[in-house]
């Protein structure tokens, strides 16, 4: 397991029941996504940092997962201060940098990072199979959960046993990707062949599953009952969310 590996963590957060962690992640995300006043966003950011700290995730893993978000945020930080009308702070020719714009851009960046930190702490430390089983026990549509389970099962298989073999074969024939038509044509054929191989593998998997009586359902294993610590965690995050929302409501 390489690209699907969860962030290894042995902490108070990683011992919380996966169902509870998934639901609290959704609840905190929903609360954070709707708040727009600075104190509530600050609170959300603090909550995200506290969760990451409690989950004892190595800082470099956290930072790496925040990179794509902050590349997007850089675009926001560079453009918003110039486009939101308000009190001017700086004039460069016709462009006006406003205090309101700067505040809004920083607020969006803080909110985005808060959301990401919460997700990293609560879901990033869970194996994807645990998430799948949690979704099944939370009664998401059985077909969707089945799709999720089989997808995560075969990502690694297809990556190592099909895609890498084709890519290695190209490399051994001295293929070097460049920005030209030859590269795009080669990638088109590579993907075509990869789809053919994946499809043939899917057919074999289907036959194997049918011979074992697959009827569309993938039964989940028995879940352990919730512990008092799980319930305490659920209640406290519920309160944290309500405190955040308290800042929006009059």
């Amino acid at each position: 397991m390489t690209c699907l590996a969860a962030i290894g963590s042995n902490s108070a957060v990683s011992r919380i029941d996966p169902r509870v962690r998934f639901l609290t992640a959704l609840w905190l995300a929903a609360c954070t996504a709707v708040v727009r006043n600075p104190p509530a966003v600050g609170f959300a950011l603090a909550a995200g940092l506290a969760l990451v700290a409690a989950a004892r995730i190595p800082p470099h893993r956290v930072i790496r997962r925040l990179v794509p978000l902050n590349i997007f945020m850089l675009l926001v930080l560079l453009t918003l201060p110039w486009t939101v009308p308000g009190r001017p702070l700086l004039n460069i020719g016709p462009a006006v940098l406003t205090a309101e714009g700067l505040q809004r851009a920083l607020l969006l960046a803080a909110r985005g990072n808060a959301l990401m930190l919460m997700m990293i702490a609560l879901l990033g430390t869970m194996e994807v199979t645990d998430i799948a089983h949690a979704l099944s026990r939370l009664h998401l549509p059985a077909r969707l959960v089945g799709l999720f389970i089989i997808t995560i099962r075969y990502i690694e298989v297809l990556h190592h046993h099909e895609f890498d073999r084709l890519a290695r074969a190209m490399k051994s024939r001295s293929f070097r990707p460049r920005a030209d038509l030859h590269t795009y044509r080669s990638y088109g054929y590579l993907l075509g062949m990869f789809m053919v191989r994946s499809f043939e593998r899917a057919e074999r998997i289907l036959r194997a599953m049918k011979s074992r009586g697959f009827d569309g359902r993938l039964p989940a294993l028995e879940a352990p009952p919730l512990r008092p610590a799980d319930i305490a965690f659920a209640v406290s995050t519920a309160f944290a969310g309500i405190i955040m929302l308290g800042g929006v409501l009059p």
Binding site: A33, G101, A110, L147, T151
Partner: protein, 199 residues
């Protein structure tokens, strides 16, 4: 093309979630026990394929392939892309949990649209040139429509995003061309080797 967490307004997030829920429900209705493993494995294949970085000019971009995904999976592209995007958010930090609905719709709706527009032309093993043209059009249009949907989501969240939208759209023009060519050749290849995949 993934919109990050924290940027969109609450009504846009809710609307995207609703549209994706409808699309996913429609896709799941077609997911019989017979088709479930097939779609799941092909969904895994598209996840792997999207890890490929393609050189574009002096830079590089990862493939989106929602056009090819639509041609091969049809309506099942909705649940398959939902799963893929959830995993990408979780494992790599692309997109996020609250933007999952918007991002899935932005990629899956163009996939379904392209399957509807170009599916018939791609199902023509006897005319590989037509398949290449239809595949290329599907690949490019799927990225363009995805970009348009992303731009709409940003625009509805605030007029102040207009310069950011323009920058995003400009960055996607070369990606659109590369995706179109790659999808065209992939479709051409499939039409010759395994035409039933494009049916």
């Amino acid at each position: 093309m993934h919109i990050s967490e924290g940027i969109l307004s609450a009504p846009v997030l809710a609307g995207g979630g609703l549209l994706t829920a409808v699309g996913t429900a429609l896709g799941l209705r077609r997911l019989t026990p017979e088709r479930l493993p097939r779609v799941a494995v092909m969904g895994a294949a598209f996840f792997v394929a999207s890890l490929v970085h393609v050189p574009i000019g002096p830079s590089s971009a990862h493939l989106i392939l929602n056009g090819l995904c639509g041609l091969i999976l049809g309506w099942s592209a909705f649940p398959a892309l939902l799963v893929s995007l959830f995993l990408q958010a979780l494992l790599f930090g692309f997109g996020g949990l609250t933007t999952l609905g918007v991002n899935t719709f932005d990629m899956a709706a163009p996939a379904v649209a392209c399957a509807w527009l170009f599916g018939k032309a791609c199902n023509n093993p006897a005319r590989p040139r037509l398949v290449f043209a239809a595949g290329a059009a599907a690949g490019a249009l799927a990225v363009a429509l995805g970009c348009l949907a992303t731009a709409t989501a940003l625009f509805l969240s605030g007029r102040e995003f207009i310069p950011a939208i323009i920058a995003l759209a400009a960055a996607h023009i070369p990606i659109m061309i590369a995706e179109g060519l790659i999808t065209g050749w992939a479709a051409w290849f499939l039409a010759k080797i395994k035409p039933e995949l494009l049916r």
